[in-house]
């Protein structure tokens, strides 16, 4: 190594200083066109955080007057965004000052892309909410402030922007401040999450009070936006919170080593600490904290480490290792706040996939408590949630899950819902209440609520409710009913041609609807002399030649009836009516 000596600059000092910088993640929020991207572009430009070639590539483009750089183009990086002059998806930008490093998520204001705003805010410690001074507080400003509060973004900097358009008028600024303060207070009451807020009048376009304090508003004597960002407390400190460690992977390089790899979600761990594995409830002591850089005497959140325990426990991906003193709650039911993000609206009693820590598990939404109107914060009853709706729901898990409330632990209280058919991420959720189980796994009665749900029935019976239409020879119909009964399915057989149904044509539908809601397999049968057995469930058909039911297949030894019965089981599994092949008797 050559000894490189620059007198004025010491690289060692620089690196040491870098090591001591902390990190703040913040996101922008607000209504469309109120200047979020312009403000971020201005912040980057005035802190010399953009390269010359990046500035050159946007000169003379965009929506601003000639000679004036359109700073929004520094973050609006997609062609469609530049063409439409709006932000569509989050842009992540990075910069640092002498004091701290920043990760910025510049989010879209357009209502259609609310899900992308939620994406950016979910990892933020602070939000910069913009309000266009010439327009005042709009509904989208409220919606975003509400989502930020739900997501427990602790600090809100309210930048009242475009002050240049209203002649830098103090009275207008004060009016907006009073108005939005009361909005934030109402939101805090609703979400139970107080928001620390600071207001600052700015012009993103002119650069007033963004990085440098401006003298065009002598009535404002406070700090610039950047000074405020530099002085906010850093990310939430979870080192003293209860220990939580979702197991991501079991590492078994050879028969001697068995370690549990994961990222510490909260708390601190040392060898010798007693831990409990949830949901099983078994305990052990931490033997070693293994990393590539050597064993640790102590590890804190959010380090990624590998734990070796002092004895063999059956632990797999998705389990949660917690401190025995302060465990999480194991539950089969919970309440949650939900932001719906999919075109296809929420369907009660439909099976969704819950992605929570390192596990994926089936879940039912058994009831909607209410929908919240972001304009008025009023709660109203709802039978579904549409895209961008915010509501409160009850969740029913098919197997017990270890949870914390989101306001106690962001990592262990957060989840997403995935549609098992389309694979879309359809909702973001935050646990607000948990109904715990006793040590024996029985729900504590005082903690549970509501009628028995479809999810609970599905968990017990192994299938959900469905209409199964069967027509064909009577012996085959009998065989199918008997074989479903034999594997524990709950069935009810109805003759489609019974007099009562012929007299009242809508009756059959009423009866089967009730049965499906109760989780029963409604077998609507039509016995006849046809050559074919036809079975239909969930829009899928199965047609079998019933002529040779008594034949025995020489190779497999199964009879024609046996093959027909097993084909029906397969159909009911492939349509998702049975929750597993095992429950379907396959």
């Amino acid at each position: 190594m050559s000894a490189l000596t620059t007198p004025a600059f010491s690289i060692d000092d620089f690196l040491q200083n870098e090591r001591e910088k902390d990190l703040l993640r913040f996101s922008t929020a607000g209504s469309v066109d109120d200047g979020k991207s312009t403000l971020i572009g201005r912040l980057l430009y005035d802190t010399q955080s953009v390269y010359e070639d990046q500035v050159r590539s946007i000169e003379g483009k965009g929506t601003t007057a000639p000679g004036q750089i359109d700073f929004a183009l520094l973050t609006d990086g997609l062609r469609a965004e530049r063409e439409q002059g709006i932000t569509i998806d989050v842009a992540y930008r990075y910069f640092s000052t002498a004091r701290r490093k920043f990760i910025i998520a510049d989010t879209p204001g357009h209502e259609q892309y609310t899900r992308n705003m939620a994406t950016g805010a979910s990892t933020a410690d602070a939000a910069v909410v913009l309000i266009d001074a010439s327009k005042g507080v709009l509904i989208q400003s409220r919606r975003h402030a509400y989502i930020a509060s739900l997501l427990r973004v602790k600090h809100v900097l309210v930048a009242v922007n475009k002050m240049d358009l209203i002649g830098y008028d103090e009275a207008a600024f004060r009016a907006i401040k009073a108005d939005f303060s009361s909005v934030l207070d109402q939101i805090a009451v609703d979400t139970g999450s107080p928001v620390e807020r600071i207001f600052v009048p700015v012009s993103a376009l002119a650069g007033d009070n963004i990085v440098h304090r401006s003298d065009v508003m002598p009535w404002y004597t406070g700090p610039s936006l950047l000074e405020l960002l530099e002085s906010l407390p850093p990310s939430i400190d979870t080192r003293t919170a209860p220990f939580r460690f979702p197991v991501q992977r079991v590492l078994r390089p050879d028969h001697k080593f068995r370690g549990f790899a994961g990222q510490i979600a909260s708390g601190t761990i040392r060898p010798g600490d007693t831990i409990t594995v949830l949901p099983s409830g078994r305990s052990a002591k931490v033997g070693r904290i293994v990393t590539w850089d050597g064993d640790l005497a102590e590890a804190i959140a959010p380090l990624s480490v590998t734990l070796v325990l002092d004895r063999e426990l059956d632990i797999s991906r998705g389990d949660l290792i917690v401190s025995t003193d302060r465990p999480a709650t194991v539950a089969k039911n919970a309440k949650a706040a939900l932001v719906w993000m999919d075109q296809r609206p929420l369907e009660l009693h439909r099976r969704y996939l819950l992605k929570h820590t390192s596990q994926t598990a089936p879940v039912f939404l058994t009831s909607i408590e209410h929908r919240t109107d972001p304009a008025t914060l009023a709660h109203s009853p709802a039978s579904t949630l549409h895209m961008n709706d915010i509501g409160a729901v009850t969740l029913n898990f098919l197997r017990p899950i270890a949870l914390d409330q989101y306001n106690e632990n962001r990592s262990i209280g957060a989840f997403i819902l995935v549609d098992a058919e389309s694979n879309s991420t359809v909702a973001a959720g935050m646990i607000t209440a948990v109904s715990s189980l006793t040590a024996a796994g029985v729900p504590i009665l005082a903690d549970t609520w509501g009628p028995v749900t479809a999810g609970e029935r599905e968990a017990r019976w192994g299938h959900r409710g469905a209409v199964v239409e069967i027509s064909g020879p009577l012996p085959l119909i009998d065989a199918i009913e008997r074989s479903l009964f034999a594997i524990g399915a709950v069935t009810n057989r109805i003759g489609a041609n019974d007099d009562a149904f012929l007299l009242h044509p809508t009756l059959l539908e009423i009866v089967t609807t009730l049965q499906v809601q109760s989780g029963v397999l409604a077998l609507v049968v039509n016995a006849n002399d046809s050559e074919n057995l036809v079975v239909r469930a969930d829009g899928q058909d199965l047609t079998l030649d019933a002529g040779n039911v008594d034949d025995v297949d020489d190779a497999s030894g199964t009879s024609g009836a046996g093959r027909a019965v097993s084909a029906v089981h397969k159909l009911l599994h492939s349509t998702g009516i049975f929750i597993s092949s095992e429950k379907a008797g396959l």
Binding site: M1, S2, L4, T6, F9, I11, D12, F14, L15, R19, Y51, E52, Q54, S57, L74, T75, G77, L78, R79, R82, I88, D89, V90, A91, Y92, I103, R115, N116, T119, T123, P234, Q248, R249, L251, P253, A261, G262, Q263, V290, T291, W292, E298, P302, L303, S304, T306, R317, M341, K355, H356, S358, R410, S411, A414, I416, V418, A420, N423, T425, A428
Partner: protein, 318 residues
């Protein structure tokens, strides 16, 4: 000797015994990346790591070693070789895979290479399309990989700033930036239908500065081309072009020795060098602080036209 008052004042950092010190910025980034690597290895059937030999790949590879230690890296490495990589890069690649015991796959679009594809015969855009994008898509399909790690960072380029950590790709490998899956907290949706796949970017939140500081602190080996040395170059105004490929030379052009290095490693005909005296990593970091241009400014491919990186990504580039 008693400690003087003034000396005590020079170390104001009081560490309270029960609150362990906060994690540095690099530790936070490292922990996040390891979490991502482990999620992917556990949730996908056939993941692969795209290994491009550059500094970002070198960091990503070290993070993979850390993520699964003491077990080996549970997926292969894939290098998409255009045939125009520097000889030093190929030697480094083979030695790296051998020394850490990783499985290395190399894929080349042999028919396009045999047909004489190069950025001068075609234009850079079509050359990249064949030798990089097409080769990558062919390789992923050939091996049936359902997830591929890439070392791309959001701070590299403005369409990359829009990427998710899990970037969903349809069955043709294409990115649809207007319709990305929401991605909240650290909960990643790994569900794909057959033929679809996910590109995963564990270094999404790292900056160029972070990468160099991490290489420095972790003593991660990198290709010698990053360090300044007297190297033969075709000098064209400000631009320095490596002499690696003969077809780059203009008629009668003679190389000159220039003390230079590469800031970003790509294909030799399209990656310009920079004049530099930085022979060590601290010197590279010091130089980085003074740079006025982005790291991709010396790459021809990003500048063919406005939004060319976004277009390449839509077509299946990583």
């Amino acid at each position: 000797m008693p400690v003087a008052e003034s000396e005590r004042h020079t170390s104001p950092l009081q560490v309270t015994p029960h609150a362990p010190p906060r994690l540095s910025h690099l530790r936070l980034l490292e922990a996040e990346s390891i979490h991502i690597l482990r999620e992917v290895a556990s949730e996908f059937e056939r993941p692969v790591m795209l290994y491009s030999i550059g500094k970002d790949s070198s960091v990503m590879l070290r993070l993979a070693q850390k993520a699964f230690y003491p077990a080996p890296i549970p997926f292969p490495l894939l290098h998409v070789d255009t045939g125009f990589k520097f000889a030093e890069m190929i030697a480094f690649r083979d030695e790296m895979a051998r020394s850490i015991g990783a499985e290395l796959l190399v894929w080349r679009n042999e028919s396009a290479i045999a047909a004489g594809t190069n950025p001068i015969a075609l234009d850079t855009k079509r050359c990249c399309g064949l030798l990089k994008t097409q080769a990558l898509l062919d390789a992923l399909r050939h091996y049936n990989f359902d997830a591929a790690f890439g070392g791309a960072r959001r701070d590299e380029e403005k369409s990359r700033a829009k990427e998710r950590i899990y970037s969903f790709r349809d069955s043709a490998g294409q990115w649809d930036p207007k319709n990305q899956r929401p991605e909240l907290w650290n909960l990643y949706n790994a569900r794909v239908h057959p033929g679809e796949s996910i590109r995963v970017f564990p270094l999404s939140n790292w900056t160029e500065m972070d990468v160099w500081q991490y290489i420095h602190e972790e003593k991660i080996p990198v290709v010698d081309l990053y360090f300044a040395k007297e190297r033969p170059m075709y000098v064209r105004g400000e631009a320095l072009l490596p002499i690696e490929q003969a077809f780059v030379a203009r008629l009668g052009e003679k190389p000159q020795m220039v003390k230079s290095r590469l800031r970003s490693l790509g294909c030799s005909p399209c990656t310009g060098a920079i004049r530099s005296d930085a022979e060590t990593i601290p010197a590279i970091i010091a130089e980085l602080i003074s740079f006025r241009s982005s790291e991709r400014a010396n790459r021809v491919i990003d500048h063919d036209q406005e939004g060319s990186m976004e277009m390449k990504k839509r077509e299946g580039y990583f």
